[in-house]
């Protein structure tokens, strides 16, 4: 699998990672090497084998639909780089 620079920029965009121009070429080579490793998976005979997403077959746990946590909004908002009046602040999205 050969990875071109357009692909690196596309994947970085999907991952929301800024990539400097001079980092694109080395990243393309690194991704190629890791994907070459992953290509070894094509040697396996997978006929009749279902995907396994999780170690346990157990169904997801359900719980009663009621509030179990106290309101700690202030403690969590205090972790934000920028918050005011109970809101997280980000650069303006809509003009």
């Amino acid at each position: 699998m050969s990875i071109d620079h357009t692909t690196v920029r596309h994947i970085a965009r999907l991952a929301r990672l800024a990539v400097a121009d001079d980092a694109v070429a080395p990243l393309a080579r690194e991704l190629e090497r890791v994907l070459a490793l992953a290509d070894q998976l094509t040697t396996a005979d997978l006929s009749g084998i279902a995907p396994m997403a999780h170690p346990h077959a157990q169904p997801l746990a359900w719980r009663e639909d009621r509030v179990t946590e106290p309101d700690r909004a202030d403690a969590f908002l205090a972790l934000a780089p920028d918050a005011r009046g109970g809101l997280y602040l980000v650069p303006k999205v809509i003009e």
Binding site: I11, L14, L35, A44, L79, Y88, V90
Partner: protein, 497 residues
């Protein structure tokens, strides 16, 4: 410390505390002093003097009253991936350099309730992504047996802190070998429980279907005491299994007679150093002398574990680490010009090279057009690997092999080559893909450096791992050896008469 004064067990420390021959305050101060005397190891990201002092005082009060929980007053350290209320939790990342959680992880909460005294937070590979502890934003950790070598990773700080005698035990997490591999490299015992046995709540997520909290300590016996305190159902973790913890300490005295240990031929294949393979077989022979029966087993898809793991773990990481957006917590870039700019620059500045590499690989494997070819195919191979274990356990009770292909490698030796680093996980990642419990036990020394025997059990058979581990540690003294300046390089493996 020298070889003449073997490390003190948790049970012995607990007896000394109960008899008031030593106080929890003294043990905590000794541990903090030992950590400060060995700062060159870089095992700790944060030391919590105030928290340790307060917890030790409370422990002494409850010890004076009597009937204190089993770990009361025992010093410990937490891998800096477990959230600690009011104590900075960095995950060894610039992204979380200033993050002070307002709550404790379940594992931290349970150990507090058990009376253990945490002295600080240990170094790790950033977000637990690494096998050498060189991927930490706060610098590499050194191996106490040889400071020019890696301690293993990602729980390298925890392993080094225990091996250096700073604390009797430390918590760790294991996504692809991150407890067992550093335990092997540092000459200590590392237990990765069954997936779901220990709550992941408050444990910063890397790959959620693989991540597992566990313990690094000096012996199987010490691991049994700690596992008993941290195992059990937690309603806050939907993948926590609703099954009571067992009597792990009681399991230590179970006889080995009749236990079938399967020697997996693939785990002794190409790339495994002769000295390590030979030493591991010698350790297995000790278990045979104690009544275990050695049988040959095969795990025919073992060679596919690394490729499957290095698709699945990055895919899950890319999804989990999407939460670091520079908005709710963590690093935020200066003067963002737009929301997009805020996201992309905050993440580019906050994450290190290996974390970015895995996010990109995972994003690629999950992207339109490649999902089936990579992610889904890896998940199908994952089932093949799990099926291999199920089939092997038809003819044996435990599966054995070397934990790692070699002893600890040199700092810098593999850090420039991600694929060479990934190959160090060859014997450990399959266990996580299948969700099984496994233990690494000190099994010998090669050129003065320790290596480990890995035992793997069926799901929820941690007690069986501890029975076998304790039996080995009754027969050998590898786990009692300690690194120190005058004996480094001169010790030779040996079994007491």
């Amino acid at each position: 410390m020298s070889a003449a004064t073997p490390p003190v067990s948790i049970a012995r420390l607990a007896a000394d505390l109960a008899a008031r021959r030593v106080s929890a305050a003294e043990l905590a101060q000794d541990a903090l002093a030992a950590a400060r005397a060995q700062t060159s190891l870089n095992a700790f990201v944060t030391l919590d003097d105030a928290g340790a002092t307060a917890a030790a005082q409370a422990a002494d009060v409850s010890l004076a009253r009597g009937a204190a929980p089993a770990l009361t007053g025992i010093p410990c350290a937490h891998k800096d991936i477990f959230c600690t209320d009011g104590v900075r939790t960095t995950c060894a990342s610039r992204m979380l350099e200033q993050f002070v959680p307002p709550y404790d992880a379940s594992v931290v909460e349970r150990l507090k309730a058990g009376g253990a005294v945490a002295i600080g937070k240990t170094n790790l590979d950033e977000f637990a992504m690494g096998s050498s502890n060189e991927n930490s934003a706060f610098g590499a950790v050194c191996n106490p047996w040889d400071p020019t070598r890696v301690p293993g990773g990602s729980s390298g700080g925890s392993a080094a802190a225990v091996a250096a005698g700073i604390v009797p035990f430390a918590t760790g997490t294991d996504t692809g070998g991150s407890i067992r591999q550093p335990a092997a490299f540092c000459g200590i015992t590392g237990l990765k429980p069954t997936y779901g046995r220990v709550s992941r709540w408050g444990m910063i997520a890397f790959a959620s279907s693989l991540d597992c909290g566990g313990v690094l300590a000096r012996s199987a016996e010490d691991c049994a005491h700690v596992l008993g305190a941290i195992a059990g159902h937690d309603a806050r973790d939907a993948t926590s299994v609703d099954r009571a913890a067992e009597d792990y300490v009681g399991a230590l005295q179970q006889p080995l007679a009749g236990l079938r240990i399967g020697i997996a031929r693939e785990y002794f294949g190409a790339g495994i150093d002769d000295a390590v393979a030979h030493g591991v077989r010698a350790a297995l022979a000790e278990l045979e002398k104690r009544g275990a029966k050695l049988v040959e087993v095969s795990l025919p898809n073992a060679h596919l574990a690394i490729p499957a793991y290095y698709v699945i773990a990055p895919a899950e990481a890319s999804s989990n680490l999407a939460r670091y957006d520079g908005v709710r917590y963590g690093h935020r870039c200066a003067n963002p010009t737009s929301l997009e700019d805020l996201y992309t620059r905050s993440r580019a500045e906050g994450f290190g090279a290996e974390v970015k590499r895995r996010i990109l690989v995972g994003t690629y494997a999950l992207s339109a057009g490649y999902y089936d070819a990579y992610y889904l195919r890896a998940q199908r191979v994952r089932r093949l690997i799990a099926n291999d274990f199920t089939a092997a356990f038809d003819t044996c009770d435990l599966i054995a092999g070397p934990t790692t292909p070699s002893v600890a490698f040199a700092l810098g030796e593999k850090s420039g080559d991600p694929l060479a680093m990934y190959a160090a996980d060859v014997n450990t990642v399959a266990v996580n893909l299948a969700g099984l419990p496994a233990i690494s036990l000190p099994a010998g020394f090669d050129r003065g450096l320790p290596f480990g025997l890995q035992l793997i059990a069926p799901a929820f058979a941690e007690a069986r791992l501890l029975t076998a581990g304790h039996a080995l540690q009754q027969a050998t003294d590898f786990h009692t050896r300690r690194p120190d300046a005058d004996s480094h390089g001169s010790r030779r493996p040996g079994v007491p008469a």
